[in-house]
Symmetry: C2
Subunit: 408 residues, 2 copies
């Protein structure tokens, strides 16, 4: 298992011994997990493993005793070579969709939630919880069920019914906050700290974000340890984008890849909640919170993104840029992806594909580049977002002549 | 790729050269694919493959040229050791859930539909289609999208909206038949034959059912090529159960396992549509069609099951039995599985888990036995089936004292 050398402050580099701590006591910066790698790791180390879950990368995940792993046993998710979509977008020969909609609770959140709930078990915490726009609620509740831990979910009361039903089915205790995600987040933070509960995306955050790194590890292994030219990443809090960048850096530090200086990172946000992209476009280093997010992409509706400034830094580091798309563009992109590649995503995935399309049209991504577009959630949770664009099926009597006439 | 030696009639054993044919010209029996295995296959042949899709078993799948494979790249699905559920059910130490809800279109149907659409491409057919209770519609439409083939879906008009929205998103052309699944099936059959369209579960059936065999192959590989004692399998048409049995037989014929004579097969059906289980219970060899299926498990609501008689034969061959559960038992089983194992299934999965529970309570499955329970579809498609059993979350103002009071 991973051997944690320290929790290191992302701002002042102060190091702490590993414990239930998430902000620097000196400067309030976020803490990141650092590892001690004891034995040599090469490509074959990972490739030869029979464990198909993201725990195959255990040396760089923050659980010290294997018996504490709480897993829903999801396999490596597909990296689909998207030649149909590539053709439609102008002849891309190396376009890939990382399809993370097929995780055990049907979004990428099984990665960070699985790591955080495992760590909560390792730390012997009495309960877990999360602040959630929906996907994290189910990921946390399902892992908590598997770990036999109580789970408290704090969410804005307007999230999709399907997501609430799913999270409740796993036995999560749901606190529907009349307010925004940021209100739910504040409440969760106080409840977590005052009760010693592990709120996976708040006081467990140093461990939580480590799970999202595996989105980098898997893509690199699936590309046979070659570095793509461009990553298109949907952004809510920004934690996932930052974690993916950390993942690329760690694999380089292990010597499995050698140069990430040409990698370009694209941050994709919805028009109705794009504080990070707006800062990028305004060449500002300040992320101004969006007070009332208004977007069909509810899973990205985080008005005051915790990792906003770090995303801006990552865009500078990786020759990146930020772009946003409207609700209409998001919905069109959902159907474009489904009809060309057979992948049915929620609006967050539509944001990524929509931004990809927009940047290609603006000649900001070239067809000779290899591109990985991250699709992080599942369309079944949000069918209402596309239903008005779909034809209403006319019903017909079971008469062969009537049906033949319909078809021809 | 697989080398097909013949299509063999399941009734009279007459053999045909491989072609677009699905019933015996002599006796109207169904045809099954037979293979010629050229080189020795052992356990390591499969284990060492880097292809994580079910095409890793290509020698015993009916596509002759690799370039015709149409895949959504889904990895091996989880076989979850279900210790929490095993404890609740009385101390089972070797209970496994085969979680097939995490396939690319979120049900096991990606297996047969993927094989059939690939074969339609290999045969150069102009279009594909299916008769569907919902899951197959999406699996067929998504693979058709990837293959750039038109897709016609024939379904009863009362299936779940979510399933319709998903299938339409992939670009499938939807024919909603005012009638039962069996009516839709009849229409699809005539349209397919008269137009030369590959209706995956009708005129492509010999190839289609081969995909479901991979549910046997994966489980055996995941159990390190040991044969479990009991399989619990949800049954609609019966094709999947029959295919799983064929899969166990083929792996035995390859010499990777040696004895399946002690394997017990359980057929699980919903009370509101249980023609096969009723025949089993009445010790009859006749499956009497259910004219108007009435069950929450719509994906199993097949009143006149095509493989009904073959399921009865398989139950005799494998010391099996059939059992059925009510809508209330199905819903309870969905929540039992979600709360104990973090797996959210649709009613068909609830049927399997409900039957498992019932047979354990009746001492028909012993806690010393190793048991694999197949969960074949996803709860997000059918949240309306459990929503009335879930607590309604009360919303609360974002005030820490109010929330604290709610929690304690």
């Amino acid at each position: 298992m991973g051997i944690i050398s320290a929790l290191r402050c992302r701002e002042c580099n102060k190091e702490y011994s590993p414990r239930f701590l998430y902000i620097c006591e000196d400067c309030f910066g976020p803490l990141d997990v650092q590892y001690k790698i004891e034995n040599g790791i090469d490509k074959h180390t990972f490739e030869n493993r029979t464990d198909l879950t993201y725990w195959r990368y255990f040396e760089i995940l923050p659980i010290e005793d294997k018996k504490n792993i709480v897993s829903l046993n999801g396999s490596i998710t597909p990296l689909q070579k998207a030649d149909n979509l590539g053709n439609i977008l102008g002849g891309f020969k190396n376009l890939y969709i990382k399809n993370d909609s097929v995780n055990p609770t049907f979004s990428f959140k099984d990665r960070p939630a699985g790591v955080a709930v495992s760590k909560a078990k390792e730390m012997n915490l009495a309960a877990v919880g999360c602040a959630s726009t929906g996907n994290l609620a189910s990921a946390t509740a399902a892992h908590a069920a598997r770990a036999n831990l109580p789970c408290y979910i704090f969410a804005p009361s307007d999230i999709e019914d399907v997501k609430i039903a799913q999270a409740l089915s796993y036995g999560g205790k749901f606190v529907a906050v009349d307010g925004t995600y940021d209100d739910a987040n504040r409440i969760a933070s106080v409840i977590g700290d005052s009760n010693g509960y592990g709120i996976v995306n708040i006081n467990m955050r140093p461990y939580y974000v480590e799970g999202s790194k595996t989105l980098a590890f898997e893509v690199l292994e699936q590309l046979n340890w070659t570095v793509p030219d461009v990553l298109v990443i949907p952004v809510g809090s920004g934690a996932m984008l930052n974690a993916i960048c950390k993942g690329f850096e760690e694999i380089m530090n292990l010597g499995l890849i050698h140069d990430i200086s040409n990698l370009r990172i694209i941050a994709a946000q919805p028009d109705g909640c794009a504080p990070i992209v707006d800062a990028y476009k305004n060449r500002s280093n300040e992320v101004i919170p969006v007070e009332k997010p208004d977007t069909v992409a509810k899973s990205l509706a985080i008005g005051d993104p915790g990792d906003g400034l770090y995303v801006l830094k990552r865009l500078k580091q990786f020759n990146g840029l930020g772009e946003k798309v409207t609700d209409a563009e998001i919905k069109d992109a959902i159907l474009l992806l489904a009809k060309s590649e057979g992948i049915f995503t929620e609006p967050a995935g539509g944001v990524a594909v929509g931004v990809l399309k927009k940047l290609i049209e603006e000649n900001k991504i070239n067809k000779d580049e290899s591109v990985v577009c991250y699709v992080t959630g599942n369309g079944l949770k949000t069918t209402e977002s596309v239903i008005d664009l779909l034809p209403t099926p006319n019903s017909v009597k079971p008469d062969i002549r009537l049906v033949s006439a319909m078809i021809h």
